[in-house]
Amino acid sequence: MNDKPMRRKPWALGIVIFLGLVLSGSGYAAATSTYQAEFGSPEQIAEGKKLFLANCASCHGTNGEGAIGGPSLIGVGAASVDFQVGTGRMPGQASGPQLYKKPVQFTEEQISAMAAWVASLAPGPAIPAEEYLRADGDATHGGELFRINCAMCHNAVGAGGALTEGKFAPGLEGVTEKHIYEAMVTGPQNMPVFNDANLTPEDKKDIITFLKYVEENDSVGGLELGSIGPVAEGLFTWIFGLGFIIAITVWLGAKAN
């Protein structure tokens, strides 16, 4: 279930997703990709098509060509399906400026089957290989790349941030290595695409390494107040710091019994 409240402009969602997937998909098709989509077995593809027809075709068309409310999926690749369905964003439910993360609706096998079918429609970014998902790269380089390419939207340590008109860059804590990678190559929703010419697979691995380092190591300074910077620190000072001290002054000024 979607636990977030509804947002405005239901029609905007359709347009945004439509444009998003068309552009990222067709854009990617034009790019030289290091991964060629690996097609699954014919049985898997057939299973994927069945699932697709039952759950996705009403918006995306019976052949994934797109329809009212859903963009074409031709050329978006397996990575896109794996990300969108694997994080619960698809099947979409709430209408608003942006799709939310939700509990995942399908099993791993079902997602793989649908991904295989969509990948069979046209070449697109594939699900990344395991070797790029191990967080054992260069965290320093990853951190630098993250600050230059990602921090402006997702915050310096991935706490998330605001975009225009109610859209937002989600926080990255708890997002799996695979989904981080897939988001970079597919550019879901309004996120730009970071193809392999821009950030090489090694670069992406470094970024994942950095994010996982930050996620796994608690702040040396103590509790973090959401890692959102000086605003939280200021509010804490006023409410708890000054609040506690005022409580002391009241005790100090009160007469003893």
Binding site: G143, R147, N155, G161, A162, G222, E224, P230, I245
Partner: protein, 549 residues
């Protein structure tokens, strides 16, 4: 002439030694039993002062390790995700303080939390002084000194915030650079002088360091000295109440009670800051990375006390550049600067404005209860609202994300609130004060409602009112009250513009007023129509009151 007798005990000898050289005996005689009024709200200024002492102590520790140089080095310290990174020595040494020096992180966090608390406590102290009218004669000049101290606190904070040369503070400096450049005629030259050339240059951290550890603290110490000296000269104000008058001061003697309380309070403030610093991260510079002009993090904000200025920048309307004869005046920058300056000038000048309006030349040592100065309280509430909206304006993006709203809607709402909020706050506060005054009058005249309803012999139901005791009554009826002034012609028989203005403002201040209960009203209420309160308990309290009349 008799021979001076020498004391025998060790303490006696030591005291004798000091006194014969420093007249300490006379100092103790004059100040040892000086009376200080006791109230929790009188300690806010103390919180600020103690925070400042803590800042000096922790700051001294930090200066032993911090190196204010912008020369580039490769980081080789403990923090893995920055190892090998090119960065300034300032940033590297700040990281070393955080990770590689025992107690360094604690002191950094103590220093930063104390800084936030310093300005916050000073701000709250100013609000207390404002809302109780403590700035009135003879303390107008001390208000100005305190106001300057608040500005200095902001300056100290900002210069310190910028020292680690991390990405967050670097972008803060970049914003300052952009604002400076926008000032007509002198902007680019001032920017060049500040940064020692083009932004970011290699000088600015060292220059800010000089300001941060020398000039600004020296000015704060000097101003603080004057501030305290004036408190001693004027003696502290006290809240209204029985026995508290403009010609006395009621409280506890400095020695021993006040020394124990105020001295202990220093340790309490330090202890609270240490506890917070031990358990809560502040300014995790390692998260932000070294300054680089290209990246930026979402949620780039200044520390809270600069927030209102950042908010002013955010709330300016779009596309406001003026072009006059080919010269550009970036009003998107200048408008917020001008608005902020006007606001500050009004805050600094308020005591003089109010004194001019009332024409009251008396010394005031008894504070006003905020309700008893409705217009001042309303003006204060409007000012606080204005400031608060600007302050909140600096976190539009965080508000949007955390409350799932559109960033654009939040910003537009803030723009509207900035204009409407103070007006509404003024009106609501003034009405609330007048209502509270009316309630006070009711209680003074007819006593408190007890909630007990009784039936009189002739069948009438009434609620029993219990008269307040004389101490409570005095508190309710003893306050200063003003009337609007009429514009009167001067010696030449003319009514000047200034006179008209003063009379108009005076009308705004005092046209709606609730006068204190007069003796005649009080006697009327108690003598004739036989109010329930008086009938219910005729034996005790009214007699007691009569005795006092």
């Amino acid at each position: 002439m008799s021979v001076i007798t020498e004391p025998k005990t060790v303490i006696g000898k030591a005291a004798n030694y000091v006194d014969e050289r420093l007249t300490i005996g006379s100092v103790l005689k004059n100040f040892g039993r000086k009376v200080f009024p006791d109230h929790w709200s009188f300690m806010l200024g103390e919180v600020a002062m103690y925070s400042f002492v803590i800042l000096i102590i922790s700051g001294t520790f930090l200066t032993f390790y911090f190196q204010p140089s912008m020369a580039e080095v490769h980081y080789e310290g403990s923090y893995a995700p920055l190892k090998g990174m090119e960065m300034s020595i300032a940033y590297a040494s700040s990281l070393d303080i955080s990770f590689d020096i025992r107690g360094g992180l604690l002191m950094r966090q103590v220093h930063h939390w104390a800084a936030l608390l310093f300005v916050a406590a000073a701000g709250l102290h100013m609000l207390r002084v404002f809302f109780t009218g403590a700035f009135r004669k003879p303390r107008e000049l001390n208000w100005v000194v305190g106001f300057l101290l608040f500005l200095m606190g902001m300056a100290a904070g900002f210069t310190g915030y910028s020292l680690p040369d991390d990405l967050l503070s670097g972008n803060g400096l970049r914003i300052i650079d952009g604002m400076i450049k926008g000032i007509p005629l002198i902007g680019p030259a001032v920017s060049s002088g500040f940064f020692g050339g083009e932004f970011p240059g290699t000088e600015v951290v060292a220059r800010l360091y000089s300001l941060h550890i020398m000039i600004i603290p020296a000015l704060i110490i000097a101003l603080l000295g004057i501030h305290l000296l004036m408190v001693v000269v004027h003696k502290h104000t006290h809240y209204p109440g029985p026995g508290r008058r403009d010609d006395n001061v009621v409280g506890y003697p400095l020695m021993p009670v006040y020394v124990a309380k105020a001295g202990g309070f220093f340790f309490l403030v330090f202890g609270v800051i240490a506890a917070i610093a031990a358990t809560f991260t502040i300014n995790p510079i390692w998260n932000y990375g070294p300054y680089d002009p290209s990246p930026v993090s979402a949620g780039t904000q200044p520390d809270w006390y600069i927030g209102w200025l950042d908010g002013a920048l955010r709330l300016a309307p779009s596309n406001l550049d003026l072009v006059i004869a080919g010269f550009v005046i970036p009003m998107g920058v200048m408008l917020p600067i001008i608005v902020s300056l006007v606001f500050l000038v009004l805050v600094g000048a308020y005591p003089f404005i109010e004194a001019w309006v009332t024409g009251d030349r008396r010394e005031h040592h008894v504070l006003d209860r905020p309700r008893n100065a409705p217009t001042r309280t309303a003006i204060g509430a409007a000012g606080v609202t204005f400031y608060a909206v600007l302050w909140a304006g600096a976190s539009t993006d965080l508000i949007a994300v955390n409350f799932q709203m559109s960033l654009n809607h939040v910003l537009t709402a803030m723009q509207i609130l900035l204009i409407l909020g103070p007006v509404v706050a003024y009106w609501v506060t003034k009405r609330a004060c007048l209502s509270l005054q009316r309630k006070d009058r009711e209680i003074a005249l007819h006593g408190r409602e007890t909630g007990r309803v009784i039936r009189l012999p002739h069948g009438e139901y009434i609620e029993v009112h219990e008269p307040v005791d004389k101490y409570e009554l005095w508190k309710l009826v003893d306050f200063k009250d003003y009337e609007p002034i009429m514009p009167r012609p001067n010696k030449k028989g003319k009514i000047t513009v200034g006179t008209k203005l003063r009379s108009a403002i005076s009308k705004i201040y005092f046209e709606d007023r609730i006068a204190p209960v007069s003796k005649a009203e009080y006697e009327l209420a108690h003598a004739d129509h036989g109010h329930a309160a008086v009938e219910e308990k005729p034996k005790r309290k009214p007699k007691q009151l009569k005795k006092n009349l």
